[in-house]
Structure formats: structure tokens, C-alpha cells
Amino acid sequence: MEHATPDAIKKHVRTYVIVFVSLMALTVVTVAISYLHLDVAAAVIVAMFIATIKGALVASYFMHLISEKRLIFMALVLTFIFFVALMALPLLGQHDTIG
């Protein structure tokens, strides 16, 4: 990225605009769906699915992850594993018979 040519950057800028429009559209969609009052499980899945797409767009294009070096991915894979473990922690409560 450090040695990108002006033409390459201009191409990036066009991509940023497309991503921006997509993020706006997805924001409207997620709010609109919330007014449908789906049942909790479906609402959580849909809302988190849309949020994940939006997050992936931000990380891939605005944070340039799509063309990033290997070392950063390695750090992020490790982070992802620990993050999933963290999210799974409440499940332990399901099997807790004490108290």
C-alpha cells in the first residue's frame, strides 16, 4: 500500500464510495427488519449476520485487510480464537449446577 500509484489510489477511492453506499443500505435494512418484530432467535441471527457483513466490509476495505501482510492475519487469527472462547464463556453457566 505504501507504494501505490495514483491510479491505484483513485481506484481505491471508487471502492470506498461503493462500500460506503453498501454500509448505508445495510444500516437501513437492519433497522427496517427490526420493525418486523421477528422472534428473538431469528432477530438475533439476522441482526448479527448483517452486522458481520458490515464489519467485514469496514475491516476489508477501510482497514485494508484485503491486501494486508501475513503477520497481521496471524495476529488476528489468534485474536479471533480467543474472542470466540470469550463469547462461549457464558455457555459454561449452562452446565453450572452450583448455586
Binding site: V13, M24, S34, A43, A47, L86
Partner: protein
């Protein structure tokens, strides 16, 4: 003493140091917000009942705030692209817009908080508001921190453009990484707190 690898990539990592440093910092931030999200899930699942966010919070206002924050992410990346195209005045405009959007986000959030406080609703109200204020409060502090950094690079810090343009561009890029992360956190906070 000169700080090494601010422009050139380190041979072993293939990256300039600031970028790797900020990514590692963001990894720790994932765990910070992750711990709070995890606690939120635990508390919500265990609660006998939990109100729908839209019944208590102002969804239209939060939607506007989401749009403001996403817009600021775009202006941030455009400010970096302007530097890559050697257009400093455009950079200043985009960075200025990013700061304004950040401030606007805080103003809207301030109105939201104010509406609650004026009704005597504080974090101690109940579990819902405790988690709401904790999550949005920590996120808000991150916005404040980002605005301070961005303001420095818009104002006094931008002098570096004249002496070391590539190093300055790299600084703006990594400040952008942080700012986009703050946007990313909000992308998950917004549906979690307001729409579910």
C-alpha cells in the same frame, strides 16, 4: 535517536512498526469489548426478562448516529487517500470532516444520555441501563480519544507533512485503523442494544 522503521518496512515483519503496533493494540481492544459483550450475553440470557431496546431507547436518533459514524469512517479513509495523492488541502478538509462527524456523534449521544438523565434514569436504574451505559460509555470514550488523535493530525501534527510526508501518511493510516475499529464496534453495539 531516530525511531526505526517508521517508513521502511521491517524486513522480518514486512510492515512499518506503527502499523503492527496499532493492530496489536486493536487485538487487545477486541478482547476488552469482547469481555463486555460476553458479560452482556451472560446477563441477558440469565435475566428472567429483558426489555426490547427499541421500547426504551431512541432508535431513529441512534440510526442517525450510526450513519454519522459510518460517514466519518469514509472521510477518514479519504483523508489518507488524499495524502497518497499528495493533496494536502484535500486531506485537511476530509480530516476536518472526520473530526466534525465524531463531535456530532458525541452531541447526539449527549442528547440521548440527557433525555435519560432528565427522567432520573441512571446506570443504577436496572440491569438493562447498567449494560447500556457501560457499553456506550466505553465506546464514547473511544470516540473522544479518536477525536483528540485526529485533531492532532489535522492541526499541529500535520507539520510533519512538510518534512517527512510518507511518515505522516503512515501515521494517518494507523490513526484511521483505530477510527475504523471504533466504527466497527458501533456496528455491533447498535443492533445489540437498540434493535434486539
Amino acid at each position: 535517536m531516530q525511531i526505526p522503521f517508521t517508513v521502511a518496512a521491517r524486513p522480518d515483519t514486512g510492515l512499518h512498526n506503527a502499523k503492527l503496533g496499532v493492530w496489536l493494540f486493536l487485538a487487545s481492544e477486541v478482547m476488552l469489548f469482547g469481555a463486555l459483550f460476553s458479560s452482556y450475553i451472560l446477563l441477558r440470557v440469565a435475566a428472567p426478562e429483558w426489555p426490547h431496546g427499541s421500547a426504551l431507547l431512541n432508535v431513529p436518533l441512534a440510526t442517525v448516529n450510526t450513519i454519522i459514524l459510518i460517514s466519518s469512517s469514509v472521510t477518514m479513509v479519504m483523508s489518507w487517500a488524499s495524502l497518497m495523492l499528495k493533496d494536502f488541502s484535500k486531506y485537511r478538509r476530509y480530516m476536518g470532516l472526520t473530526i466534525l462527524c465524531g463531535l456530532l456523534f458525541l452531541v447526539v449521544k449527549g442528547f440521548e444520555y440527557g433525555a435519560k438523565f432528565s427522567h432520573g434514569i441512571l446506570p443504577s436504574e436496572d440491569l438493562f441501563y447498567a449494560t447500556y451505559f457501560t457499553l456506550t460509555g466505553l465506546h464514547g470514550l473511544h470516540v473522544v480519544g479518536g477525536i483528540i488523535v485526529n485533531f492532532y493530525f489535522w492541526g499541529p501534527g500535520s507539520r510533519m507533512w512538510k518534512t517527512e510526508p510518507q511518515r505522516f501518511t503512515n501515521r494517518v493510516e494507523v490513526a484511521g485503523l483505530y477510527w475504523h475499529f471504533v466504527d466497527l464496534v458501533w456496528i455491533f453495539l447498535f443492533p445489540t442494544l437498540y434493535l434486539l
